[in-house]
């Protein structure tokens, strides 16, 4: 026996945003004529304290059990109005938002009459829908207060320490037999020229000593299941495997150095090497008299369109180290743009210029030519674009400045955790501007070169940011997901798999259900904790097996049926 539906309709003027085009009093009068509507009123700003308390008062006075607010956009105000209903003791899912602004007044300016008619239609549809809404509860899941950090380089270690210091448990999984990542191969860091060990060792020591951190060396991630707050991961270590239960995951697997085989004599001449090769094997900086560096090798070209971001600075660093060790050395950098961005690096660039490092601009279409005899490069010829002349530089060392490239395992990890890769092969964050360390799937974060080449300060920043994001659900102790989620009817599911592949959040998976002949069959199943209620699965399902609560077929048909 269902209770009688009692709807309250609140139509907003939104200042003059709606009221200036739509005849709000007219819409209010119209609303009063609709079935189940017990109360209708207009407000100047329904979201103001006045409007909100009016709604609460009417719920109380008139025992309203459904509320329709016809105003602006749920994007900004849905939470506010839902909370307001809750405050008055009404289940927040018995509320329907009708958009009279973006969907009406703002797109039909100058057409008052038609806009008002449309507003009435929208309100009528809203009332029809709200009558079919059922009370629902948010789903709260417990969050395990521990994090899995994939990668033990500067990013992974920084994130681990930050979380451990806040009291969370951290499992660091590193595939090499030692911690440190790429920084192990870097000799000195810019712009201080201090040894990388000075930075890395204290970090490693702190991580190893921290009682909240467990380090797994020589370990690789094999499998991940679950969702935010409840991930179960399997790692392979010491020949065996181990299960880890964590609440959040930070992907900090870094990137790898690029080996530009065949370019500019690399592999053929023993004195042609990358900047990183130079750092690992160089020994003393004062051994060299004529150093020529070629920037943008393997970057900003047909093969790889991106810029390595900080490799220009690496070149400056090594140029300065050579010059400072041997002021008589001639160091020339061949470049296509000097990316010394910001406060610090422009001065660093000037420092190199002041020390006598020379810069020659070359064009992508006319790359330098490295010439030599036998196994040694001797000269570099380049068209000095700005001078308009080819010049010849003697060289006893040729350094190729290369970008970092995506790590080999990225594709496998991407599939394992359902986290996307960008076109460049690095992990793709949820939103480039405002969510740079998050993935669309909740609870998994990214930091450091796994996302895009990043130097130490940036990596540390991103690691701390990822730690902050990971700390949020863990601090709260639970993750609350909205009740408007999708659900698969196993009886109708034909197991075509469309929904599984189309879900951007990895919330749809396979489940086994008993089949008539006592065998088992696979059907799709939505994990309500991960589902964001976007509806892609429901609209892609050819069998009509998926129901999105809050937007059921029944509700939508009811809205359509109200049309004249």
């Amino acid at each position: 026996m269902s209770k009688a539906i009692r709807v309250g309709v609140f139509v907003c003027h939104c200042g003059s945003n709606i009221g200036g085009i739509v005849n709000v009093p007219d819409v209010v009068e119209y609303a009063k004529t609709l079935p189940w509507v017990e109360w209708a009123e207009g407000n100047l700003y329904t979201c103001s304290e006045d409007g909100l308390s009016s709604i609460r008062n009417k719920i109380d006075e008139l025992h309203l059990n459904r509320v329709v607010v016809a105003s602006c956009t749920p994007r900004t105000h849905e939470t506010l109005f839902r909370k307001n209903c809750e405050r008055a003791g009404l289940n927040k899912y018995l509320f329907e938002f009708v958009n009279l602004r973006e969907h009406c007044s703002w797109v039909h300016m100058g057409k008052s009459d038609e806009a008002t008619l449309k507003a009435k239609d929208l309100v009528r549809m809203g009332v029809a829908k709200v009558s079919l809404l059922k009370p629902q509860e948010d789903l709260a899941t417990e969050v395990t207060r521990s994090t899995l950090v994939l990668g033990g380089g500067v990013s992974g270690l920084t994130a681990a320490l930050a979380l451990a210091n806040q009291g969370y448990l951290v499992e660091v999984v590193e595939k090499e037999d030692e911690l440190g990542g790429l920084l192990r191969f870097v000799n000195r860091v810019f712009p201080t020229h201090r040894s990388s060990a000075e930075l890395l060792n204290p970090l490693i020591d702190a991580v190893l000593a921290h009682r909240n951190i467990r380090v797994h060396l020589g370990s690789e991630l094999v499998e991940v299941k679950g969702f935010v707050g409840n991930f179960s991961a399997v790692i392979r270590e010491n020949g065996g495997s181990r299960d880890l239960n964590v609440g959040t995951i930070i992907v900090a697997v870094g990137a790898q150095a690029h080996k530009p085989e065949g370019a500019f004599g690399y592999g053929r001449f023993e004195n042609v090497m990358t900047q990183l090769d130079f750092e690992t094997q160089c020994g003393r900086y004062d051994r060299f008299k004529r150093v020529v560096m070629i920037n943008c090798v393997g970057a900003r070209d047909e093969e790889r369109s991106y810029c390595g971001r900080f490799c220009c600075i690496v070149a400056l660093k090594n140029a300065l180290l050579v010059k400072e060790a041997n002021p008589q050395a001639e160091v020339t950098i061949l470049q296509r743009d000097v990316m010394a961005v910001g406060r610090l690096y422009e001065d660093y660039y000037r420092r190199a210029l002041e020390k006598g490092v020379r810069f020659v601009r070359y064009r992508k279409a006319e790359p330098p030519r490295v010439e030599g005899a036998g196994t040694r490069a001797e000269k570099v010829r380049v068209l000095h674009t700005l001078m308009g002349k080819e010049i010849e530089l003697d060289a006893d060392l040729v350094l190729l400045t290369t970008p970092l490239v995506p790590a080999e395992d990225n594709a496998a990890l991407s599939r394992m955790m359902k986290i996307p890769l960008g076109m460049d092969g690095f992990f793709l964050e949820a939103h480039q501007k405002l969510r740079p360390v998050e993935f669309p799937a909740d609870g998994i974060f990214v930091a450091g070169c796994a996302r895009y080449p990043a130097e130490i300060t940036e990596s540390i920043g991103q690691a701390l940011a990822a730690a902050a994001k990971a700390a949020i659900p863990m601090a709260r102790g639970k993750v609350v997901s909205e009740a408007f989620v999708a659900e698969v009817d196993p009886g109708l599911c034909s197991a075509c798999g469309r929904c599984v592949s189309v879900c951007p959040f990895g919330a749809v998976d396979w489940a086994e259900v008993p089949a008539p002949d006592r065998k088992k069959r696979s059907v799709a199943r939505v994990n309500p904790a991960e589902c964001k209620g976007c509806g892609l699965c429901a609209s892609s399902c050819l069998s009509g097996a998926i129901r999105l609560s809050g937007f059921t077929d029944e509700q939508i048909f009811a809205m359509i049926a109200t049309q004249r």
Binding site: L353, R358, M387, K389, I391, D394
Partner: protein, 174 residues
Amino acid sequence: METALERNCAESPDLRSEIRTLMDANHLNLCLECGKCSAVCPMVNFYGEYVHTRCTRSVVERLCFDPGGISDEALWYCWACKECTFFCPSGVDFQNFMTAFRELMVAHGHRDHAHFCSVCGAYMMPKKQRDYLETTMNLNGNSELLWECPNCKKGKYLNVLYKLAGGNGKSSHR
């Protein structure tokens, strides 16, 4: 192995290293080749055409990378007016370099393109500058403006003042 400067510049070692010193002292190495100097240089107005090899940026580049490629003459077009130096965003003091460089060249006997004071023989300006000024200024007998250096002019002036003061003093300005 010699640097390009050393190998191409067929001058005495002293001149080579002195040029290098001048370049460092005037921060020519800070040049980022942005072209602002060439854009503000008034040479194009005086000579009626823009010839890139005469301009600041070209001179600086070739001093760094192709000194042997600089024809002697190219370095005697600049008027040392200081516009380029004023606007240079990197802090290259080209005007000071140019002035000092010319005095250096003259000291080493390279006098063909220079114009000297007819009284004391001091370097005044490039010949080209004098030629342009002569033709545009219509001097009509006031040629000491261009043929006497400021020092000598001051000397003359002082002598006049001494005369007026009724003495026998003579200026020591040479």
